[in-house]
């Protein structure tokens, strides 16, 4: 059997078998039936759970793409996922990138979730000129280094605070209620101080008055002194960064002291802890929190994708999983337009991505379009409000407005 007739057979009814033979045998550029997508993610070690979510989401997306006929401009070429375990270790990520590029001859790379791994690993891809799609790794520096082959889908670190302030502004416009005085209360570690530093700059630019700037130790056993300061500062809006135990204590103490605020805005972490709502109950009502993604975002196909994922893997989609899912569709979109497996052409196509709809677009924001540094400039986070529904207290997506849960109107100012 010569190569051409072999190819024809494989396109027929025994496509699956043909695929298997091809991936084992030598692949010539003419007979390219698969696109190799290399994924460097933490499949063991401390971030293994997140890595597994990313793996599940990738598999779900690739199965869908292949079932729908693969990459049409490449004669229905299928996507093939190849995994490498980073173990959350930078040196492991770098070594695996070398291996995937040189030995496995992957066409595109994705990963690595841990920013500390992504940062050095993207440098390897840049050196070989292999396009590297980063679904989510938040460190700003990953796209700030100006690499040509690195494309990040999710919002970067500094955009969390940016979006909190954009949300605050949108809230005032929507409800015609003015906010002047802000109070910042945050855990005194690296994380809290970093966020508060950004807040201070943003507040100054936007012309808010900061009436309280209070770092506190997360190990505090009594937060009533801090709550007293918030109460006496007469702030309109309280912005918080907390770990779990202190988020619960802070929320409950605020309610005990009947602190009057127009809104409370938190920064994920402890406020997003699974036991937070249960441990605070009504006291958490009307709180706004920032997240990567929430299961109720008002996007076509989001609920269905979540239901499918849940039936396959037994848990809800997470922000990380959604970004990985979208990454596969972005790669598919770029391959369709590139109509080639040449890394330079795939890179060109990725740089011209302009994706606003399709099965992958179940994220909170409207569009994927990369800027000249490879950062998705439309990426944003999602704001949720904790409020009562028929199912008890829930986190309800309220912002961006286009992703708001249908039929829900946020409660502002806080009654």
């Amino acid at each position: 059997m010569n190569k051409t007739s072999f190819r024809q057979t494989s396109i027929g009814a025994v496509a699956a078998l043909g695929l298997l033979c091809l991936s084992l045998g030598p692949v010539s550029s003419l007979a390219a039936q698969t696109v190799k997508v290399g994924n460097i993610i933490p499949l063991s070690g401390p971030s293994a759970t997140v890595g597994q979510q990313g793996k599940n989401a990738r598999e779900m997306a690739v199965a869908e793409i292949n079932e729908a006929g693969g990459i049409k401009s490449l004669n229905g070429a299928k996507l093939e996922l190849i995994y490498a375990d980073s173990e959350s270790k930078p040196e492991k990520g770098v070594a695996e990138a070398e291996r995937l590029i040189n030995t496995e001859k992957v066409n595109v790379l994705t990963g690595c979730w841990n920013s500390s791994v992504t940062y050095p690993t993207t440098a390897v891809a840049e050196r070989y000129g292999i396009p590297f799609v980063v679904p989510v790794s938040v460190a700003d520096k990953i796209t700030d280094q100006g690499f040509k082959n690195v494309f990040r889908i999710a919002a970067k670190d500094s955009w969390w605070t940016r979006d909190q302030f954009t949300f605050l502004k949108d809230l005032q416009t929507e409800f015609g209620s003015e906010i002047k005085k802000l109070a910042f209360v945050y855990e005194n570690g690296d994380w809290g101080q970093g966020i508060a530093g950004n807040w201070k700059k943003l507040a100054e630019e936007a012309g808010y008055e900061v009436v309280l700037d209070e770092p506190y130790p997360s190990t505090a056993t009594d937060l009533s002194p801090v709550v007293q300061k918030i109460r006496r500062s007469r702030a309109d809006v309280l912005m918080m960064v907390s770990n779990a135990a202190d988020a619960i204590l802070l929320t409950n103490t605020l309610a005990e002291y009947k602190v009057k605020l127009k809104a409370m805005i938190s920064s994920g972490g402890g406020h997003a802890d699974p036991s937070f709502i249960e441990a605070t109950g009504r006291n958490a009502q009307y709180l706004f929190d920032i997240v990567e993604w929430e299961t109720d975002v008002n996007r076509a196909g989001a609920a269905e994708a979540n239901a499918k994922y849940k039936s396959l893997y037994g848990s809800n989609l997470t922000g990380e999983a959604v970004d990985a899912y979208l990454a596969m569709y972005i790669i598919k979109d770029a391959l369709e337009r590139a109509a080639s497996l040449d890394p330079a052409k795939i890179r060109e196509a990725l740089a011209q991505t302009d994706l606003a709809q399709g099965p992958g677009m179940i994220v909170g924001y409207d569009k994927v379009m990369f800027n000249d540094k490879g950062q998705n400039q439309f990426a944003s986070l999602v704001m949720v409000q904790v409020n009562k529904t028929d199912n008890g207290l829930e986190r309800i997506t309220v912002w961006p407005k286009s992703a708001r849960r249908s039929g829900y109107s946020p409660v502002f100012p806080k009654p």
């Binding site: 700037d213 209070e214 002194p225 007293q228 300061k229 619960i248 409950n252 005990e256 249960e278």
Partner: protein, 295 residues
């Protein structure tokens, strides 16, 4: 001025609860001459006991004392009898046996991780209890009701323990053992039995502290660690082995933590508390209210 008064009151209330959490530590040290590193874990065990007693029956949190005190006493009694006593016997010629400290550290890790395995990492709060979130309003001032209950309980417990040690036969036997265990043994006191009882009392007192915390604080596997560190500071501040010292030391820490943040950020008050701790160690190693000889 009003603010100052409000903060001072909160400091005294919260501080006396800190004192109560440290009381068990000081009792155990006073008698066994051993720093019990598992103390925070005993408090945590007490909190889980109280939490489940209240969550399952829905009674007033303080009614759980009926269960918590005896269970914690028995738990402490046998913990000392089975786990710690053998080590004590091996080191019987030393006044302050170091290996026992290491054993208590082991107990701390085992208890915390066992709780994590059995109950998971969740933060538990009893949402429906008659004390939860209650405040007394005096004009502009707000004072927490569960903390008032806690403060009253702390003072009553300290007074009862004090009188028990001073005026009962068993109390005198405990003090005798604490002063000189060999002489006490010569006088016919069973040293190890006294140790068991003292450890039981210390654990039961932690149980009482746990009950005062449950109405307004979260229960989770590592909660003891926070109070452990605070407990050590308070005990050194007040004087190791001193009952009044524990309560007053707690109040000092509470007042610094509560009044301090009005003049600086809350982060600094921690530094002040630790600074005071070091200062006391330098100037008066026996503690502010401690005596040179225990009791």
């Amino acid at each position: 001025m009003l603010y100052f008064l409000e903060d001072t009151i909160n400091g005294i209330l919260m501080g006396s609860i800190y004192g109560l959490t440290a009381l068990g530590l000081t009792i155990i040290f006073g008698v066994l001459k051993v720093i019990n590193f598992a103390h925070g874990s005993l408090l945590m065990v007490g909190m889980y006991l109280a939490y489940w007693a209240v969550a399952l029956t829905g009674v007033h949190p303080y009614l759980s004392l009926v269960v918590v005190i005896p269970v914690m006493f028995i738990f402490g009694y046998y913990l000392q009898d089975i786990v710690i006593k053998p080590i004590f016997k091996a080191e019987r010629n030393v006044r302050e046996p170091i290996t026992v400290i290491i054993v208590t550290t082991g107990v701390w890790y085992i208890l915390d991780n066992l709780t994590l395995l059995v109950f998971g990492p969740q933060y538990r709060v009893i949402n429906d209890n008659p004390l939860r979130g209650k405040m007394v309003e005096i004009g502009e001032m707000l004072i927490s009701v569960p903390k008032i209950w806690g403060c009253v309980t702390a003072v009553i417990t300290a007074v009862l323990i004090y009188y028990f040690f001073q005026y009962t036969r068993l109390g005198r036997a405990i003090r005798a053992t604490s002063l000189d265990r060999d002489a006490a043994s010569l006088a016919g006191i069973n040293q190890y039995k006294i140790y068991n009882i003292a450890f039981g009392i210390g654990t039961a007192v932690s149980g009482i502290a746990a009950v005062t915390l449950v109405p307004f604080y979260n229960t989770y596997p590592t909660v003891g660690v926070l109070f452990d560190i605070k407990g050590f500071i308070i005990v050194v501040l007040g004087g190791l082995g001193s009952i009044t010292g524990a309560i007053l030391g707690g109040m000092i820490v509470g007042i610094i933590e509560s009044v301090g943040p009005q003049f600086m950020t809350a982060t600094w008050t921690e530094a002040i508390v630790y600074g005071l701790f070091l200062l006391v160690l330098f100037i008066k190693p026996s503690g502010l209210f401690g005596v040179k000889y225990d009791w």
